[in-house]
C-alpha cells in the first residue's frame, strides 16, 4: 500500500512540476491555427549565463520586437564551455525547425557539421561573436578580436607612457581570448617595444582565482605596471589583488567587456579602462541578418535559397574609461542590464 502511495505522490509531484514548467515556457508553435505566421529564432551560445551574451540576446529580442510580435526568440546553450555540447544544442534546436539560428561558436571547427545540418534543413544560420568560418554560415557579425587586443595594447601603451612590464590574464584555450592576447602582444611588439609582456596567467575565468594569481604576480614582480585581462572576470579579480596589496595606484588594469561590476570599478577608478565592443548591436544585427536570410527578396542572393546577406560584418572596439562614464548618456547605455527570460 505504502508503495502505491509513494509512487502516486512522486508521479503527481513530477507531473505538476513538468506541467508548470511547460506553462512558463514561451511557446513558438503550440497554438495551432496561427502557427503559420509564427516564427522562432534561436540564439545558441557556448557559455549560457555569461553577461556578454545576455546583451547580445537583448539586442536580438529588441530587433525581433521591432519586426512584430509574431516572432519569438530564445537563448540556448550549455552552461559549461564545451564545443561538442554546443554542437549538440545546435542539433537539438535544428530539430525544432526554427526560422533562423544565431550561433556563437565555442571553437572554429567543432560546430561545422551541426551548422551544416541546419543549413541543409533550410534554416539560415548566422554566426556572431565567435566565428566558425568554414561552417557555411551565411554571415558573421562580430568583433575582430585581434584588433580588440590591439586596442587594449594601444591604450595600455598610452597610459604607461610607452614603457614597463605587463601581464595578461586569460583562460587558455578560448579562441576569442587567444586572439585578443595575440593582438595585444603583437601590437606592443611592433609599436611599443619598451613594454614587455612578462607573464601570461590562467585565472580559469573566475574572479577569486584571478585575484589569487594576480596577487602572486604583483608580489613576485613589483615591476609589473599593467595587467590586461582578455575576459570580463579578470579585471575585478586583478583590482581586488591590487587593493589587497595597496597597489591600485601603481598598476594599470585594462579589462575586456563590461558588466555592472566593471562599470562600478571604472567609476571608482580601481581599473583604468575596459575594451568594449557592442554586444547589443551584434545581437541586433545578427537577428536582422537571420530575418533577411529567412525572407528572400528579389535581390539576388549569394546563398540561395536564403535571402541575401553580406558575408561578414565587423564591428569596432573601443576603450571605455571612468572619465567617459561621467557622461550620463554614456553611462545610461551600460547600466540596467537587460532581463533574460
Amino acid at each position: 500500500m505504502k508503495r502505491k502511495i509513494a509512487l502516486g505522490l512522486t508521479l503527481a509531484v513530477l507531473a505538476s512540476g513538468l506541467a508548470g514548467c511547460g506553462n512558463a515556457a514561451p511557446q513558438a508553435s503550440g497554438t495551432g491555427g496561427a502557427a503559420k505566421s509564427e516564427e522562432l529564432y534561436s540564439m545558441v551560445v557556448f557559455t549560457k549565463g555569461a553577461e556578454y551574451f545576455n546583451w547580445c540576446y537583448a539586442g536580438m529580442k529588441d530587433a525581433a520586437a521591432s519586426i512584430g510580435d509574431h516572432i519569438t526568440v530564445e537563448l540556448q546553450g550549455p552552461a559549461e564551455w564545451d564545443a561538442s555540447l554546443e554542437a549538440r544544442t545546435v542539433e537539438q534546436v535544428t530539430a525544432k525547425n526554427p526560422t533562423g539560428i544565431l550561433v556563437a561558436s565555442a571553437d572554429e571547427t567543432t560546430l561545422n557539421a551541426a551548422i551544416g545540418k541546419a543549413l541543409d534543413a533550410g534554416i539560415p544560420v548566422i554566426g556572431f561573436d565567435s566565428d566558425a568560418a568554414e561552417s557555411g554560415r551565411l554571415s558573421y557579425v562580430g568583433t575582430d578580436n585581434y584588433d580588440f587586443g590591439a586596442t587594449a595594447a594601444k591604450s595600455m601603451a598610452e597610459m604607461l607612457g610607452g614603457e614597463g612590464e605587463v601581464a595578461i590574464c586569460m583562460v587558455p584555450g578560448a579562441i576569442a581570448q587567444e586572439e585578443r592576447a595575440e593582438g595585444f602582444k603583437n601590437w606592443l611588439e611592433e609599436n611599443a617595444p619598451d613594454i614587455k609582456v612578462v607573464s601570461e596567467l590562467n585565472d580559469e575565468g573566475d574572479v577569486a582565482k584571478s585575484e589569487t594569481v594576480c596577487t602572486a604576480l604583483l608580489q613576485s614582480n613589483p615591476n609589473i605596471k599593467g595587467i590586461f585581462s582578455t575576459h570580463g572576470y579578470g579585471a575585478p579579480g586583478a583590482a581586488a589583488a591590487a587593493r589587497t596589496l595597496n597597489m591600485l595606484e601603481n598598476v594599470v588594469i585594462i579589462g575586456s567587456d563590461y558588466s555592472s561590476a566593471v562599470i562600478e570599478l571604472l567609476q571608482s577608478g580601481d581599473i583604468e579602462g575596459t575594451v568594449v565592443d557592442d554586444p547589443y548591436l551584434i545581437g541586433y544585427e545578427a537577428f536582422m541578418l537571420a530575418y533577411a536570410a529567412a525572407h528572400p527578396t528579389e535581390v539576388p542572393s549569394a546563398n540561395p535559397p536564403f535571402g541575401h546577406v553580406p558575408p561578414v560584418i565587423y564591428g569596432g572596439s573601443q576603450l571605455l574609461t571612468g572619465e567617459m562614464l561621467e557622461d550620463e548618456a554614456v553611462l545610461a547605455k551600460y547600466q540596467n542590464p537587460p532581463a533574460v527570460n
Binding site: E51, S199, E200, T212, T215, A216
Partner: protein, 321 residues
Amino acid sequence: MKRGRKLTIGNREGTLLITILVIFVLMCLIKGRLFYARSNIEAIFSNLAYDLLLACGMTFVIILGGVDLSVGAVLALTGIICTLLIQQGVATIVAVLAGVLFGAAIGMLNGILVAKANVAPFVATLGTQSICRGICYVLTSGYFVAGLSEEYTAIGRGTFLGIPNRIFISILIMLILAVLSRSFRPLKNMFYVGGNTKAAFISGIPSGLTTVLGYGISGLMAGIAAVLMTSSLGMGHASYGISFEMKAISAAVIGGANMHGGSGSFLGTALGVILVALVNNVFIMFNGSPNWSSAISGVMLLLAVGFDVVRNRVKSDRGHR
C-alpha cells in the same frame, strides 16, 4: 615513542610543515624581500582564506566518511543571496546572518539526505550542487550583483589589529574548530560516527544528528567564505566557487584525512591548504605555464600521499632488519 605522541603532531603534519618551511626558506633565499615581505605573506594568506574555511568544513565531512561536492555552489548561492539583500538595502548584519544561516541550512539538508534517507554523500551533494548552481543563474541570469554598501565591503576589505579581516576570521575559525574537534563532545562524536556508524549508534552517540551537524558546518563554512569573498570583491556572481570542492577535498586529503572516514586533522588540513597556496604562488613567481596551474593541487595530493607511503615502506624495511 610515547613522548612523540604527546606532541600530537602526526607524521603527515610533520612532513607538510617541513616541506612548507623548506619551500619558504628557499623562496626567501631566491626572491629575498620580495617574498618574505609582510605584504606578500598577507596576500598569500588573504587568498587562501576561502580555501581554508571550505577545507575545514570538508574535513568534518570526510571524517564522517562522506564528501561534500556542494560547497562551491553553496558559496556562490549564499554570496548572491547576501549581495542581493544588501542591494535591496537590508541591514548588513541581517544580510550576513541570512546568508550564513542559509549556507548552514543547505549543508544540513545534505546531512539529512545522507543520514536519514541513506543517500550516498556523493549523490546527495552532487544533487544539491546542481540545484544551487542552477538557482544562482535563475536569480541573476549571470549578471554580477554589484553596487554594495561600504559597510558590507568593509567586512572583507577591513583589518582587525592590523591583520586583514579575511585572514583573521578564517584562521580564528580554523583554530576554534581544531581545538574543539579534539575536546568538544558533539564534534568529537564525528570521529566515532565516521569510524563505525553502527557501533556509534549502539553506543548512544546520536549518529544522525552528528552527521547533520557535520554537513551543516561544511555549509556554514561555505556561507562564511561567501560573505568574505563577496564583500572583499565587492560583487556577487553565479560562477563563484566553481571546483572549490575539489580543492577543499585535496587539501583535506593532503592534510591526512582519510576518505573512508574516522580520521582527519585540522592542523593537517590547514597545512595542506597553505602548501597548495604556496606552491601556486611559487609557480606564478617562476612564470610556470598557465596550462598546468589547475593541476597543481591534484599533483600535490599524489606527491604528499605518495611520499608518506614510500617513507612508511622504507621505515618498515628498516624495522625488519
